[in-house]
């Protein structure tokens, strides 16, 4: 699959521009990787031209989770770790809206870890961007679930001792149907990944390495060419994105690891399966009004 397949939706009556999408000035620190994520998200939305009122941005708690305030779209800034189930409620009850979830490594892999597994296995139709900075930034430098062993933080002053999770393997095991990895300093790559994620019909997740210049400066130098690192992308002529085993193998070492689409398959979404159940159930009722359905139910209780 390539970005060439992308066909923009019919242009909305009012053209969606970056200006229309811009809200409050971000509260992030100067130099934060999240600025680039925000800018690329504007750009992708400009390209896709979804109706403005049908875009919803959802987030939990964390620096990156402030995202909805910086987007002039319908938004909801929820509680720590529960953005995905909240977004699930929106996605399943409103097939007409496009649901985007933003968060960090603590929100997604620690306090919200269980929800990630379940939203993924249910293949909820939404796109989830995890801005991974390997540290808790909003609370000022504690160890995160992705902090590497030896990382010195306020909760591990002599260096982290717990094995960090491998986000790609975690996501592959969860049952997500689109899994990609990108880098906030590689805007072209990020744009391509976001676009493919958004156009995927199912639970699409993108891990985006996004440097915290305040509490973990240099975390991603090994994958930043201008800092002497290598940005190694996945060659999709060699890697079959539908091959789960190959994807697990590809995710063996993420320091710095590969960037691109690790895995993408088509599996019916929960949205579609539930809708089919609703349609099948209603077709058996033969067009009886909703009020009469309940009246008939009462008749069986007489």
């Amino acid at each position: 699959m390539s970005t060439a397949l992308v066909t923009p939706a019919a242009p909305a009556a009012d053209k969606l521009t970056k200006k229309a999408l811009t809200a409050d000035h971000p509260t992030w620190c100067p130099g934060c990787g999240d600025f680039a994520v925000l800018n690329i998200f504007y750009r992708v939305l400009e390209k896709l031209q979804y109706p403005h009122e049908n875009i919803v941005c959802v987030a939990g708690i964390g620096c990156s989770s402030r995202f909805p305030y910086f987007m002039n779209t319908h938004g909801i800034h929820f509680i720590h770790g529960r953005a995905l189930p909240l977004a699930t409620g929106i996605s399943l009850s409103r097939p007409d809206v496009h649901v985007f979830v933003f968060g960090g490594d603590g929100d997604g892999f620690s306090i919200g870890g269980n929800h990630l597994n379940h939203a993924a296995r249910k293949n909820i139709k939404l796109t989830y961007v995890i801005m991974d900075n390997f540290v808790y930034g909003l609370t000022k430098k504690q160890t995160s679930p992705t902090s590497p062993i030896g990382f010195k933080s306020k909760t591990d002053p002599t260096g982290s001792i717990d094995r960090p999770i491998n986000p790609m393997r975690q996501l592959l095991a969860s049952g997500a149907t689109f899994i990609a990895r990108t880098h906030a300093a590689q805007v072209k790559h990020m744009e391509a990944m976001f676009e493919r994620a958004i156009l995927h019909d199912g639970f699409s997740v993108v891990e985006c390495l996004s440097e915290c210049v305040m509490f973990y400066a240099g975390a991603f130098d090994d994958s930043t060419p201008r800092k002497g690192g290598t940005f190694d992308t996945i060659d999709e002529t060699q890697h079959n994105v539908t091959d789960e085993t190959a994807a697990f193998k590809l995710a063996e070492n993420l320091a710095p690891g590969k960037f691109g689409v690790y895995y993408q398959v088509n599996r019916p979404t929960k949205n579609a399966l539930e809708q089919k159940w609703i349609d099948d159930t209603q077709s058996k009722l033969g067009g009886v009004s909703q009020k009469d359905v309940l009246k008939k139910r009462f008749e069986t209780m007489r």
């Binding site: 049908n54 509680i79 189930p85 409620g89 929106i90 409103r94 929800h115 379940h118 309940l294 139910r297």
Partner: protein, 622 residues
């Protein structure tokens, strides 16, 4: 018993009610003098069926309850469910009456014991002079304790069932044998009862229904000996149809009628049957109910559906409500309308999962961090479960905040018969308002109640709203301003103050002024009303006041309290460190009336009439 050949006379404790005592308050009271030729007329009777959970006694109890609904009888049932998956002792008690039935019955008139252990555990619940039928397969006359004038009748439930149905099914179907026997002894409407049974089993394999009816007929024909037969006096015919249902069913139906189409929950006893029913029913209405991975996800998904513009519901029982608390604080802060059902059970922690308690009142009102005002309602009986759900839907939408419905284990499982709700009058069509919002739209206006613009709504002014858990200004921008936090806290509180002024004062049952006002909430409505009637018949001036709105409470309660010498709250929770139950504590704190006293209990069982009467009389005489 005395060797005479005449039919056994049951020693009615209330055959000749003393002057002034309402017949309805007596148990198994007779409406006319017994005669040997025709059945003795009854106004009401309490039948307790005791066995193991796999014996199907719940289904016979259900059949009897449904029959009551069909024959204009009143009914209230009581059942215990073992918390283990299979096996374990279980009972089903049916209180049938031709007048109003307000409680499950202090004592049973008839005990049907399926086993020796059932007999031993429940014989104390049988009244003096009551009848006990026991299965001769598990006990004999030598196991019987001859006491209190109880009449014991051994019946071979097991062997007679096996004989009637055939050897291959072993003793399955002995519940139907017992149903047939009860039908004969109480002269129940056999035709209607068989109709109900047939409809229930008709959906299954043909042989299942055939075997059930064979067992039923064998029980019906069984000669239980020279025991006299009874018949209920006809109930008062009503104009509309009557239905019989349990509280969880009626809450579910009420939610659907209120326009609820979405929500999510996690299984927990005794809440689960509501989510199971919503899961199956909502697709018929174009909606969807999601089983979440945990309680936190369940409330989050429900808030998601509510944010998306739908009337949505989550629910749980005690421990699950605790897990939802952080998100409920969010819903108060972000002013999201949603309904939360809590089917209370005994606590704390895993506590008594299958017993009744009213100990979640404080949690419902004050659980969660920060000042997080919300509405709390409690249904008074099974029928009211329907109407409280309707009201919860209206209040959630109008005040844009969480509404908690406090039901309980007793209400959830007991069956009552009542008039079918008039859907032409009560049906609420679900709505999704995604109309374009005018320029200058404020999601959190200080001078009005928040009404959100859900996704899909165009914003004429070009500025899209963000729903937020951070303290915010009128536009929803995060704000740490001391003044703004005060103003917004006031805004979230004042809408409930407004509601308290709009609520009608509850009507006092009984005396409007006098010795004592008995206050209750939730499922204690029936027992308190019955207790008040009994105390009044004994010459006391007593009123009963039942609160359906617990937070906010209606404005002006103090005026009602002033008309009584004593004020007593009757609650199924602990009297705490200072001697007052949860509602009593709230009333004392808000009204500063030191006369408010408590009658509390924590045995996991519904109140008996005599417990309430004794407790209230003790306070009156203190």
């Amino acid at each position: 018993m005395d060797g005479s050949k005449s039919p056994l006379r049951i020693a009615f404790s209330s055959a000749n009610p003393s002057a002034g005592e309402p017949a309805r308050t007596t148990i198994m009271s007779t409406a006319s003098a017994p005669s040997s030729s025709s059945p003795t007329s009854l106004r009401n009777a309490v039948i307790r069926l005791a066995g193991n959970s796999q014996d199907g006694i719940q289904s016979i109890g259900g059949f009897l309850a449904r029959l009551a609904g069909r024959t204009a009888q009143e009914v209230m049932t009581y059942m215990t469910i073992p918390s283990t998956i299979s096996g374990g002792p279980s009972i089903f008690q049916v209180h049938l009456g031709s007048g109003e039935v307000l409680h499950e019955g202090d004592e049973a008139d008839v005990l049907v014991a399926f086993y020796k252990h059932s007999y031993e555990n429940h014989i104390a619940a049988l009244r003096d002079g009551g009848i006990c039928f026991y299965d001769t397969a598990d006990m004999g006359p030598e196991d019987v304790k001859h006491e209190r004038g109880i009449i014991h009748i051994g019946v071979p439930f097991t062997s007679a069932t096996v004989e009637a149905v055939g050897g291959s099914t072993r003793d399955r179907g002995k519940n139907m044998f017992v149903l047939g026997m009860v039908c004969a002894v109480f002269n129940l409407d056999k035709e209607k009862l068989v109709g109900i049974v047939s409809r229930q089993f008709g959906r299954k394999d043909e042989s299942v229904l055939r075997n059930a009816l064979l067992a039923f007929d064998a029980g019906f024909a069984y000669q239980v000996g020279d025991v006299e037969k009874f018949a209920f006096v006809p109930g008062e015919a009503t104009s509309g149809h009557r239905i019989s249902a349990d509280g969880n069913q009626m809450l579910t139906m009420g939610l659907i009628a209120a326009g609820v189409r979405y929500g999510s929950a996690y299984p927990i006893t005794p809440w689960s049957s509501i989510m199971e029913t919503l899961r199956v029913e909502l697709p018929k209405y174009g909606g969807l109910y999601v089983q979440a991975e945990d309680e936190l996800a369940a409330v989050a998904m429900t808030i998601g559906a509510a944010f998306a513009g739908h009337l949505a519901i989550t629910g749980s029982s005690g421990p699950g409500l605790s897990l939802k608390m952080e998100a409920l604080g969010y819903a108060s802060m972000a002013e999201i309308p949603l309904i939360v059902v809590n089917v209370q059970r005994g606590g704390p922690s895993t506590g008594l999962p299958t017993s009744v308690e009213q100990s979640d009142l404080m949690q419902a009102i004050y659980g969660s961090h920060g000042d997080s005002p919300r509405i709390v309602l409690a249904p008074k009986d099974v029928e009211d479960c329907f109407y409280i759900a309707l009201e919860a839907g209206k209040l959630a939408k109008k005040y844009s905040c969480p509404v908690i419905i406090l039901s309980d284990q007793a209400l959830s499982s007991r069956i009552e018969a009542f008039e079918e709700p008039d859907l032409d009058k009560h049906w609420v069509e679900p709505t999704l308002d995604i109309s374009t919002r005018p320029e200058g739209f404020k999601p959190y206006p200080l001078d009005a109640i928040t009404q959100h613009a859900p996704p899909g709504s165009k914003m004429a002014g070009g500025k899209y709203p963000v729903s937020t858990g951070l303290e915010h200004d009128e536009m929803g921008h995060p704000s740490g301003s001391p003044k703004m936090h005060t103003l917004m806290t006031n805004k979230r509180r004042n809408k409930l103050v407004q509601l308290s002024k709009e609520l009608p004062l509850p009507v006092i049952h009984g005396d409007q002024t006098g010795d004592v006002l008995v206050i209750g909430w939730g499922s204690t409505y029936g027992p308190i009303k019955e207790s008040v009637d009994r105390m009044r018949s004994e010459g006391h001036k007593v009123g009963a006041l039942h609160l359906r709105h617990l937070h906010p409470m209606p404005d002006g309660l103090d005026g009602l309290f002033k008309k009584f010498k004593h004020v007593v709250c009757v609650e199924m929770n602990d009297s705490g460190l200072y001697g007052y139950g949860q509602l009593a504590t709230l009333l004392r704190a808000s009204l500063a009336d030191p006369r408010i006293q408590s009658v509390c209990k924590t045995d996991g069982l519904a109140f008996r009439i005599r417990e309430i009467v004794t407790g209230v009389e003790k306070i009156m005489s203190a």
